[in-house]
Symmetry: C2
Subunit: 337 residues, 2 copies
């Protein structure tokens, strides 16, 4: 329960706390054998440094703040982000960092993200936010705290981004190559990522010589089966129905899938569909959902590496924008026409 302190070790070894500190930190001006025996007794006594004391003195906390915009559509419950966070956590843990959620308030006092980060003395911040135009996020970004963002680019800051433009293009081309010309697209709610995907969809279609009518493009929502179901019905009621519907993500597709079934359409015989993300769900479906697998694990890992290097070697650090390609998962929901 009660923590062992440097002082206790010092007494046990008959040396000063300075010596103990040096021994444990492998400092240069200490005798090899003294150091060894101190380290041994420290281990025996179950010593761990007091994080607060160390943080106070050294001005770093070995703690990384996570800025997670928690809302329904994009938050912990979204498998893509949860997976990124998981692999990020595993990686920074190995580098010796803990993870703390950074919110806008602590108790009754409201603070900005920056203030919270300073309060907790975070060595770096990992931003997984939907709305990076939030002034409080901007304030953080323009501070000197090392940070890495996901799927959003701030100039001068490290970022890891899923290659949304190319991914979407890949998916559209796949559908096109299977012979589809009437492709509908249900987008997610309006975010930077959504805009990139939508632009890529249009660009790719134009490039392929496809003329997509306006009513084939429906604004939906990520992670919402209900809204995808509704959008699906609207597409069904169109006089000139699409032959393929592209859903905003795998999860929300489930709503569309059920709606189509209700309407008596079978997949992919009567209508083709695609998802996005490649979460575990998509492989549990029959036929396997055709989707674009984003490499969330790699994204988390790269973000961790980037942030750790930004923290630990600021001199050599270059705020890269790492683009992570996705993989097309062919599945079986796009029929060859």
């Amino acid at each position: 329960m009660l923590a062992v302190t440097l002082k206790q070790i010092a007494e046990a070894c008959n040396v000063s706390t300075a010596t103990v500190s040096k021994a444990l930190n492998y400092a240069s001006d200490i005798g090899a054998d003294t150091a060894k025996s101190i380290r041994q007794t420290a281990k025996n006594m179950g010593y761990f440094p007091n994080a607060a004391a160390r943080s106070l003195k050294t001005n770093h906390s070995r703690n990384i703040g996570i800025l997670f915009s928690l809302n329904k559509a994009i938050g912990l419950t979204h498998e893509y982000f949860a997976q990124i966070l998981e692999s990020f956590q595993l990686k920074v843990e190995k580098a010796g960092y803990d993870l703390t959620f950074i919110s806008r308030n602590i108790g009754k006092t409201v603070m900005s993200y920056l203030e919270h980060s300073i309060y907790r003395n975070c060595d770096g911040i990992f931003i997984l936010s939907k709305d990076c135009s939030d002034p409080s996020v901007l304030e953080l970004v323009s501070s000197k705290i090392p940070l890495v963002t996901i799927d959003y680019v701030f100039e001068g800051c490290g970022a890891v981004i899923s290659d949304n433009a190319n991914n979407m293009s890949k998916l559209v081309r796949f559908v096109y190559n299977r012979g589809h010309r009437k492709i509908a697209f249900i987008s997610g709610e309006d975010t930077a990522v959504t805009r990139i995907r939508l632009a890529s969809f249009h660009k790719t279609c134009t490039h392929l010589g496809l003329n997509i009518p306006d009513n084939y493009i429906i604004k939906g929502q990520y992670h919402s089966p209900e809204i995808s179901a509704e959008a699906t019905r609207r597409l069904y009621e169109l006089p000139d129905r699409p032959t393929c519907i592209m859903y905003p993500d795998d999860y929300s597709y489930i709503g569309g899938m059920n709606e189509l079934e209700d309407l008596g359409l079978s997949i992919p015989e009567d209508i083709s569909v695609t998802g996005f993300d490649g979460i575990s769900l998509s492989k549990g479906l029959r036929p396997n959902l055709t989707t674009l697998r984003q490499d969330s694990e790699l994204i988390g890992i790269k973000a961790a590496q980037l942030l750790v290097s930004a923290i630990e070697s600021p001199s050599t650090y270059i705020p890269e924008h790492i683009v992570i390609p996705g993989n097309l998962w062919e599945g079986g929901t796009v029929k060859r026409l």
Copy 2:
């Protein structure tokens, strides 16, 4: 960037740091007007206390450790736990606490959960672990650090548990009341919760006078559509097929749903099914999945209240075991026979 300290405020106000500290902490022995003006300048200067210094001195950190067993089946990517964590976070944040993940290692050094908690000076721990028999968890539990567990009971510790026994019973009775007598059950992997649900299933069946053959009970896995699909096929191949299949959770049911469809069975006409959890997915399905909605939001809130009171009022605190009932969601996947 650089934080404002007490000292700076003290200089600005021409008082000692002690006075500033007292003013900000609403201590008694300080003049009302001095206090007021100090608080005002502190605000103007953008002061926030240094968490490390405060923690060092007061021996508490206003930080709660989360012990999250991160593995595939049960972790951040599981909506039930992610939701509990989300609502927990929102609640403790209001009480003035931050959340830090507690892992078994930090850098190259391996430490126990207890050691990590001491290292970070956590005021309390929130345990969301699948395997509470882990010796390192046990060590933590037997320490004096306030903690609350989810879906697992340690005597003398606060716990919030979803009422698995009654929930399962409710679900079985609902199926029974719809006329089903041949009920199959696909369980999750072996955990405390699984054992409770399985026992409740058996007990309820016995109570209802049902004799469930052994081959109706299949050991599956939570959150795994694939394994549920396979289990579904095994049940289908039985000479005497069940009329209803109960899946370990909503998510894994998706695998079964597709398998059944592949087998040419339609739900609920040819076969009835139930899920468990009541995640958003289940309401996106057509027909709506019959499931047992666990109140993950309330569980998170109650856990937060319990833990905060354990931390802040240890004298009046009673380590309750709060049982949160679930709600049957009738849905449309159980046919009336």
